[in-house]
């Protein structure tokens, strides 16, 4: 393996995995990190990156981002969303299996990973389907998916037929050390809901998704996770109560972890007031108390990862009456600024914010990346914590512009992203 020798100098290095926080250099050679803080003897750089006034940290690992390929290329592609990811400092991302076709065979896993390699930006880890075609009934060929490179399986947003299927799926996945990712939502309790069931939804007359849709699903899954011994992860929790339930199980030694989508640390049920379809999200934005509980859990590590839950859409998907619009936010490029806003407001220590984007998700999947240690993959993010930018025409890379933060000033901008020692952002023309 060969690659350019890169020297990143002058920045504040923050590596939560080692606890290192100080000024110094990061040296990269042959796609791996060879020095942190000081330069190894005889290291000569081919390329220098001036990180003066900037923060140098491991590249971000995003546990949930939809690329829309294969099957929904009118919303986004591996090329377009991969470029958006590295523009947001993300060096590895997991894509859920609900593509068309579903990621339930090694062939589709290979299709996604090969296209990602050709695109040459972000590392893409496809999550395999837990059941065939996500039909909720028949187990997928999990071992074949593992051999094809899947580290985790999930049924995305689709329900399972019954709890026996869930039990068998967890047992079988546990046999091969696969992580099972849940997006907990009890389908019957969701009914036709499209917003949080609460004061705002009641006032707007929008059908609600109660908190219990999430807590009941978590409560159903936890004993089966414990019984089967599977390594399980709850993605995109939206309620404080569900976080408590997962944390309580974890404290008892159950192998569970949890993440939250970054916008759930900012937006609440009030965001949909005026029928703002850009804030139509699944799970819905809940109460201020829920948002604060999610943030507290991110701060103390009960939630060990924060993801983008990126869902790019074409404009028409949001141009309809609220309940008819498609849920989801385009959020690869708002991941860092929204996390950094919490740091700037003094609500989250910088090291914790970076940990939840790096070593936290790496530990959930057992990845080597997410740290700036000699020998680790040279996946690095350099960002300017003071730079103010506005998501708008020109600076926006994702094919989906569906974000309520459009044309709103954000602080914290990525200035360089390295994947495997290669500078993938900014591109050659821009650097």
């Amino acid at each position: 393996m060969s690659g350019p020798r890169v020297l990143i100098e002058g920045g504040r290095i923050v590596d939560p995995a080692s606890g290192f926080d100080g000024t110094g250099v990061v040296c990269v050679a042959d796609g791996v990190i060879v020095g942190v803080g000081s330069r190894p003897d005889g290291f000569e750089a081919d390329h220098r990156i001036d990180a003066g006034g900037r923060i140098v940290c491991p590249g971000f690992i995003d546990l949930c981002a939809r690329l829309r390929e294969p099957g929904q290329e009118h919303k986004g592609t591996i090329v377009s969303e991969g470029a958006a990811a590295v523009a947001g400092g993300i060096t590895t991302l997991c894509c859920p299996p609900d593509t068309t076709p579903v990621i339930d065979t090694p062939a589709v896993v290979k299709l996604v990973t090969e296209r990602a390699e050709q695109a040459g930006k972000v590392r893409v880890l496809p999550i395999g389907a837990l059941t065939r075609s996500l039909n909720g009934k028949d187990l997928s060929e999990m071992h074949a998916l593992k051999r094809a490179g899947c580290l985790a399986l999930s049924n995305a947003d689709r329900p399972l037929a019954n709890l026996l299927v869930l039990r068998r799926a967890l047992e079988y996945a546990a046999s091969f050390g696969l992580v099972v990712v849940f997006r907990p939502e009890e389908p019957w309790l969701c009914s036709q809901g499209c917003v949080h069931e609460g004061a705002v939804g009641s006032r707007l007359g929008l059908p609600g998704i109660p908190e219990t849709a999430e807590t009941v699903a978590v409560a159903q899954a936890l004993p089966l996770i414990e019984q089967t011994g599977v390594r399980a992860h709850f993605g995109q929790l939206s309620s404080g109560r569900a976080v408590e339930m997962v944390a309580e199980a974890r404290a008892r030694g159950v192998h569970v972890s949890a993440d939250v989508a970054v916008h759930h640390l900012h937006l609440t049920e009030s965001s949909v007031d005026g029928f703002d379809a850009l804030c139509h999200s699944r799970p819905p934005f809940r109460t201020t108390a829920d948002r604060d509980a999610l943030l507290a859990a991110v701060a103390d590590g009960r939630i060990s990862a924060v993801c983008s839950d990126h869902q790019p859409h074409e404009p028409d998907a949001k141009l309809d009456v609220f309940p008819e619009t498609e849920p989801g936010l385009s959020s690869l490029q708002t991941l860092l600024p929204l996390m950094y806003a919490l740091v700037a407001e003094g609500r989250l220590p910088l090291s914790a914010a970076i940990a939840r984007l790096t070593v936290g998700p790496a530990a959930i999947l057992g990845l080597e990346s997410g740290r700036l240690a000699p020998g680790a993959p040279a996946d690095v993010c350099v960002f300017d914590p003071a730079a103010v930018w506005v998501p708008a025409e020109g600076g926006w890379v994702s094919a989906g512009r569906n974000t309520p933060f459009w044309e709103r000033a954000l602080t914290g901008r990525v200035t360089a992203t390295l994947v495997g020692g290669r500078l993938v952002y900014p591109g050659e023309t821009a650097s």
């Binding site: 009641s202 707007l204 007359g205 929008l206 059908p207 005026g274």
Partner: protein, 328 residues
């Protein structure tokens, strides 16, 4: 509670009515002006020649994505009595055979140089969506969107209450029935609280009350006898059987036993209580025929008032009302 999102879009910079989408965010003064204007039109509708030329040359489109006879008819009569041209368009929407998008429909009608859309739609937020996207000269009137709002119905209800009671101070009002699915109830609650009644109660089993219903500014009751005690106005809601996808009540029989309005139950209310119903009535399910047709019922007056109130809202939204020179 933030009302700016609702208020911003339906008022002009000078505070005049531009669209009429929801009662939320409108001032007591504006609601009073609508009622006063309606009062002046109530005379017109009783005359031999029932027309005034306020909207002559204007085109009003009744855009109904959901079937309705009564509401469409009263809007049509109101527009015609204001001398407007009226176009009725019924668009049956089915999820399976969805043709052109809602926005395309609106663009096509706009191209025909119409002046006002009266919109009914099965989904909450439809009128807001259309108002946000129409050409600047077009007014949008909400004739009912999902469970969200039915503001002209609420205005004709408060107009009827004002005529019967003389005002709103000190009144206790009970709204009985399916609050969960009711856009009428949501708009009435806003209107009654804005106009300063003493108390708004909602009476229903928990399955038919929205979450955090107290936040709407009401006191919930699950017992009709309790809920009717000393009230001045009872508004019975239609049990919207067609909207009930799953089990909300065990049977119509049991519902009437617990929540149906009977003479005996009405004795709990004040002696001069009035009984209202937005229609259409399910006799024997939510209300006894003897009450619906009895002396305390103002149900048919509501229908009559509906035309005057809709004339008022239409003329004010087109800035053609008798109050043209008066700042709001």
């Amino acid at each position: 509670m933030s009302v700016t999102a609702a208020a911003d879009i339906q008022l002009t910079a000078s505070g005049r009515l531009r669209h009429f989408l929801t009662i939320e965010g409108l001032s007591r003064e504006l609601l009073t002006r609508i009622m006063d204007t309606a009062e002046s039109f109530a005379g017109v509708t009783a005359q031999n020649v029932k027309k005034v030329p306020l909207l002559r040359g204007k085109t009003v489109v009744n855009l109904f994505f959901e079937n309705s006879t009564r509401t469409r008819t009263t809007f049509e009569l109101a527009a015609k009595r204001l001398s407007a041209d009226v176009l009725n368009i019924n668009i049956a929407t089915s999820a399976t055979s969805k043709g052109e998008s809602l926005l395309d429909t609106i663009r096509n009608l706009e191209a025909m140089h119409v002046d006002m859309f009266v919109v009914r739609h099965a989904q909450s937020g439809a009128a807001h969506f259309i108002a946000r996207h129409v050409a600047p000269h077009i007014s949008v009137l909400n004739a009912g969107d999902g469970r969200h709002a039915h503001p002209t119905q609420a205005m004709l209800d408060v107009f009827t209450i004002r005529r019967a009671k003389g005002g709103f101070a000190g009144l206790k009002v009970a709204i009985v029935g399916d609050i969960l699915h009711s856009r009428v109830a949501r708009s009435e609650i806003w209107a009654l609280n804005t106009l300063g009644v003493d108390e708004v109660r909602v009476v229903a089993p928990k399955t038919l009350l929205p979450a955090h219903v107290e936040a709407l500014g009401v006191v919930p009751y699950h017992d009709l006898n309790e809920g009717l005690r000393d009230v001045d106005v009872v508004i019975m809601l239609r049990l919207q059987l067609e909207r009930m996808g799953s089990a909300f009540i065990p049977s119509e029989h049991e519902y009437f036993q617990r929540f149906g309005l009977t003479e005996k139950r009405l004795e709990k209310a004040r002696p001069d209580v009035i009984v209202m119903h937005p229609g259409p009535i399910n006799r024997g399910i939510e209300i006894d025929s003897a009450i619906a047709d009895g002396p305390r019922s103002v149900i048919l007056q509501q229908v009559t008032h509906g035309i005057a109130v809709r004339m008022a809202v239409m003329s004010m939204a087109m800035h053609a009302g008798p109050d043209l020179e008066v700042p709001v």
